[in-house]
Each structure stands twice: as structure tokens, then as C-alpha cells.
């Protein structure tokens, strides 16, 4: 008898054994299957009932965040350097050569011929995040950024300090807590100095020098005020 015969016989024997139907509890199994299926369906419905309100709440929150500008703020705070540079890009290509001069040095010599501060593209990156408060929507953000770029152009390119003063005021009115508002306030003070409105310049720079608006431009504003004091008769 060969091995193949042995395996073939064993296989045949196993087939015969399994061919004899065992008294399978088919009905009990059927009921158990349907019962388990029902349970799964109920569980699925329950999960949907739980998930739907959560999903709806998330959608509402996301919609509110998008509409209120919170979403834009979150994204803006992820990349402050890039977003701060954005509005100044238009002006950055033609920044005045004096832009790199330290304001305090020039102010000490002649307060009314104040050197302009560095372009915001270089300085806005250090703006404290506590000032960040973007506008209501992305479209609004674009409009506000355009106001900033316009003021920057008038101030540093056109040297139109009267126009720039109005433009800075317009920007600050549109975004009093905007991420570039500290820079705008400081520039507004510079414009007032250029226009010879020293008292108003002092009033504008004093809160910055006192740190009421954070530490950004605090030192520069303080140096300007000291220079004004020294130059005063």
C-alpha cells in the first residue's frame, strides 16, 4: 500500500465522516445571527444619533469661526512673518534708502527731520502676537492690508506726510487692533513730527513709549520723545 493510497483513504474517510450531517442547531444559529445583526443596526443608529449632533456642532463652530475671522486669525498666527510681510510687499520694492537709519540717531540731531523707520517687511516679524486681531473675513483682511500698503506708499515712497497721516488714520480706524496697528501708530507719530505738529506727535508717541501698547517700538518712541525734549527751547 503506497503513501498516496494512505492519504487518499484518510481523505475519503474524512469526507465520509463529514458527509454525515450532524444535528446542527441551524434555527438557533439563524436567530442568533439575526439578533446580532439587529444589535449592530441599533448600535449603528445610536452612533449616528451621537455623531450627528457633534458633527453639526463642529460645522456650526467652523462656520462661525470663518465668519467672525477667528479662522483667519488662527491661520495668520501660524505664519506671522509671512502675513506681516504681505501688505508691505508692494511698497518694499521702493523703500527709501533712509529706512535703515536708526530713528533715535537722526532724532537726536534734528527732531523734525526724523529718519524713517525700517520698512515693515523687516520689522513686522517682531510684532507681538497680542496685537494680532485680524478683520472679520478674508475679503476684509485684504481691504485692510490694502489700506496699510497705501499708507506705507504715501509715507515712505511719495513722502506725502499729510496724505500718509490720513491713510494711517484710515488704517487704524479699520483695524485698531490689527496685526500692523502698532507699526501704524508709530508711523502716524512720525508723520505728525514731519508736519511739525509736535504736541500731537508727543501725544501719539507717549503711549507707545510708555509701553501701553506693548513693547513694540517702545524704545524708538521713547528715544524720539527724549530727543524732542532735548531739542525743546
Amino acid at each position: 500500500m503506497t503513501d498516496d493510497d494512505l492519504l487518499a483513504r484518510a481523505t475519503r474517510a474524512l469526507k465520509e465522516r463529514d458527509a454525515t450531517p450532524s444535528p446542527a442547531p441551524t434555527m438557533a444559529t439563524r436567530l442568533a445571527i439575526l439578533d446580532a445583526s439587529d444589535r449592530e443596526r441599533r448600535q449603528g443608529r445610536r452612533n449616528r444619533l451621537l455623531i450627528m449632533p457633534i458633527a453639526a456642532t463642529l460645522v456650526l463652530i467652523a462656520t462661525w469661526a470663518a465668519a467672525s475671522g477667528t479662522l483667519a486669525r488662527v491661520f495668520a498666527s501660524d505664519g506671522p512673518a509671512e502675513s506681516a510681510q504681505a501688505p508691505a510687499k508692494a511698497a518694499a520694492t521702493s523703500v527709501a534708502p533712509a529706512a535703515s537709519t536708526e530713528p533715535s540717531a537722526a532724532a537726536t540731531a534734528a527732531p523734525l527731520t526724523v529718519a524713517e523707520p525700517p520698512a515693515p517687511a523687516a520689522t513686522a516679524t517682531t510684532a507681538p502676537r497680542t496685537f494680532a486681531a485680524p478683520p472679520a473675513s478674508v475679503a476684509e483682511a485684504g481691504r485692510v492690508d490694502a489700506l496699510y500698503a497705501d499708507a506705507h506708499r504715501l509715507h515712505f515712497d511719495a513722502r506725502d506726510h499729510e496724505g500718509a497721516l490720513r491713510a494711517w488714520d484710515a488704517y487704524l480706524q479699520a483695524a485698531p487692533a490689527g496685526r500692523l496697528a502698532p507699526e501704524a501708530r508709530y508711523n502716524r507719530g512720525l508723520c505728525l513730527l514731519h508736519l511739525g505738529r509736535v504736541a500731537e506727535a508727543r501725544t501719539a508717541l507717549a503711549p507707545i513709549a510708555g509701553g501701553a501698547k506693548g513693547s513694540y517700538r517702545q524704545d524708538e518712541a521713547a528715544r524720539l520723545l527724549r530727543a524732542l525734549d532735548d531739542a525743546a527751547p
Binding site: 498516496d4 492519504l7 484518510a10 474517510a13 463529514d18 444559529t29 439563524r30 439575526l34
Partner: protein
């Protein structure tokens, strides 16, 4: 005629719309699918795991999974083939559990007995079947599945490959190794 060229599987699936109803989580459809295919599923399960109780659990698990799994059913095969494939997929831990129980039973009941077929032929065949079941426990699940599908269930290597989710050539190779290992075991245990 149409009857000659349309596969039977198409009639099975389309005539009752069973698959569509299963996809819609129709409770009655699950019962109908069970009634129609439980015997084939139970026989395969019994041969895969080697005992009735575990086979019953395996059948139950396969049919409970069916309403969810049927969303992956593309209609190229018969629904029965699809259900048997679920049985094969679910078999792993049932096979392990059943094999473990058999080994424990043998440990307390002694080593597999050598066969004496000269006496009672019927008893000899039962012993041979029992010994082959024991030898199957020594195979890998893949080899065991190949042997069960092709030798016991008599599927072609193509069908077996479809059920086990493996290429046809792989199934033939697994069967070859399974047979060699089974012969070695049967010989070692004194089967004649």
C-alpha cells in the same frame, strides 16, 4: 439561448435581488441568505476547523459580517462563493482555538493512537479520519485551507484561489506541501 450563456451566479444574485436587499440592511434578506447558503458554509467551516461547535461559531460570525461585507461584493462571483470566502477569512482564530482544544484533549487522553485497520473496517475509517484531522492541525492555516478547499471540498485551484484570496499557482504549491506534510504525519503516527 440566454440560459446557456448566462452564468448561474447571475440568476442567483439578480433573481431575488438578495444582494441589493442585503446592502440595504434588510433583516429578511439576511435570513434568506442564511437559509440558502448555511449548509455549504457549515460544511466548509466544519472541515476548516475540524469540530462542530467551533464551526457553528464560525458560520455565525460569517453571516453576522455579511451585511457589512456585501458592500464589497462586486457581483462577479456567486453570492455563495462570497459567503464561503468570508468563512475562510474568519477561520483563522477559530482554527487555532479548535486545534488547541484537540491538543489538550490528546494530552490528557494520550498520544494519537496507531491504527489497526485489519479488524473493524468502520472503526478503522473513523480512526483514519480522526488522525487526518489531527494531522491537519499540524499544518499552517494556508496549507490547511488549500487542502480543505481542493481535496475535501473539491474546488479547482482557481476557485480555491478566489476563496482564499491567493493566486492559483500559490494554492497548488500550498496543496503540494500540505499533502507531503500530512503523509509524513500519518506515517509517523503508524497509520496504515
Amino acid at each position: 439561448m440566454t440560459l446557456a450563456i448566462v452564468p448561474a451566479a447571475c440568476f442567483e444574485n439578480d433573481a431575488s435581488g438578495l444582494v441589493d436587499r442585503l446592502r440595504r440592511q434588510d433583516r429578511l434578506a439576511l435570513g434568506e441568505a442564511y437559509d440558502a447558503h448555511q449548509a455549504a458554509a457549515r460544511r466548509l467551516a466544519r472541515r476548516l476547523v475540524g469540530e462542530d461547535a467551533a464551526a457553528e461559531d464560525l458560520v455565525q460570525e460569517a453571516f453576522v459580517l455579511l451585511p457589512r461585507a456585501v458592500h464589497n461584493f462586486d457581483g462577479n462571483a456567486a453570492l455563495r462563493t462570497f459567503i464561503l470566502a468570508i468563512v475562510v477569512n474568519c477561520a483563522r482564530h477559530h482554527v487555532r482555538g479548535a486545534a488547541r482544544r484537540r491538543r489538550l484533549a490528546e494530552r490528557y487522553g494520550g498520544e494519537p493512537r496507531a491504527l489497526a485497520l485489519d479488524g473493524d473496517a468502520e472503526a478503522g475509517r473513523r480512526d483514519l479520519a480522526r488522525l487526518l484531522t489531527r494531522a491537519l492541525d499540524e499544518l499552517t492555516l494556508e496549507q490547511r485551507t488549500a487542502f480543505v478547499l481542493m481535496e475535501l471540498e473539491e474546488h479547482t485551484s482557481i476557485d480555491a484561489g478566489a476563496l482564499a484570496g491567493a493566486p492559483e499557482a500559490t494554492m497548488r504549491t500550498r496543496l503540494f506541501h500540505a499533502k507531503r506534510n500530512l503523509r509524513e504525519r500519518l506515517e509517523a503516527w503508524g497509520a496504515r
